[in-house]
Symmetry: C2
Amino acid sequence: MIYTVGEAAKVLDVAPSTIRYYDKEGLLPFVERSGGGIRVFKEKDFDWLLIIECLKKSGLQIKDIKRFIDMALKGDETIDERLELFQNQRKKVIKQMEELQQTLDTLDYKCWYYETAKQAGTTAVHDHLSVEDIPEHLRSAKENLDRLHRRG
Amino acid sequence: MIYTVGEAAKVLDVAPSTIRYYDKEGLLPFVERSGGGIRVFKEKDFDWLLIIECLKKSGLQIKDIKRFIDMALKGDETIDERLELFQNQRKKVIKQMEELQQTLDTLDYKCWYYETAKQAGTTAVHDHLSVEDIPEHLRSAKENLDRLHRRG
DNA sequence: CCTTGACTTAAAGTTCACTTTAAGTTGTAT
DNA sequence: ATACAACTTAAAGTGAACTTTAAGTCAAGG
């Protein structure tokens, strides 16, 4: 089974121009062409594209993905470097998830804040609330928002 | 305790130009000025800045954060809208975390892939591996990478 | 009073990742 | 043979979020 750029784009749910852009940036040196110069995507090309997608989602920039592609094409002599790259991206993603969890905690607190305000008809209900009035699982998020007040 | 833009920037660990940019975009209408026109940040301003930071980390664009600020300044009549905004951002962040978890699973598989290749001295070890050779917790990530092969 | 570092603004510049445009070519279907 | 959709490229354009520059002002210390 072979695919044109438009068909490959549909499979991957991206714009054809995105794939052409990646190619132009040197991310797809393995994609072959027809006699007339049209890109011909094969099954194995999707393996590459999915790894590119993964690296992109992990926050790697296009130019650094290109460096990975270049490494991979060099063969076994770059195994160590490539392992290191994936280990680094793994750590970065774990950090991102921790930060997102913090953001989620704050959003949870704010949802409770506005639910409470909605019931009372005013945000002023929060003016005289003490720590015990805040649901336990939201207290650390609230303290985090307050942390800058206990500075200096 | 009051702060200049440079001092506030240090507390929040951002560039002073970033804060000025936010102000220009209408995110900081509550920040007062000295007689000479210099921004004066007070404790309560940091409450706003932390919420702005949270919304930004949740993926909200500057122009939409501005809309939230405008809403908040309108007072109690916008409580419902603001609640909805935070509930939406909460859902978006949960989705982002799920996607990041998928990315992490793929990275975990790739780390194992290169660790194994490193020990063998070649990525060719993977050519004749069967499913049972892949650690159980990595199999779904591997299948995910292979999913496009079982198409059509 | 004067120096000096940090502040002010408007406007231009940067980076990233695409997307769009324009002009032309390929390949399939009738 | 011809029409037509989808392909090709280079180059220009977009949008988001800042950052930098330039020219000038403020305010605290000596």
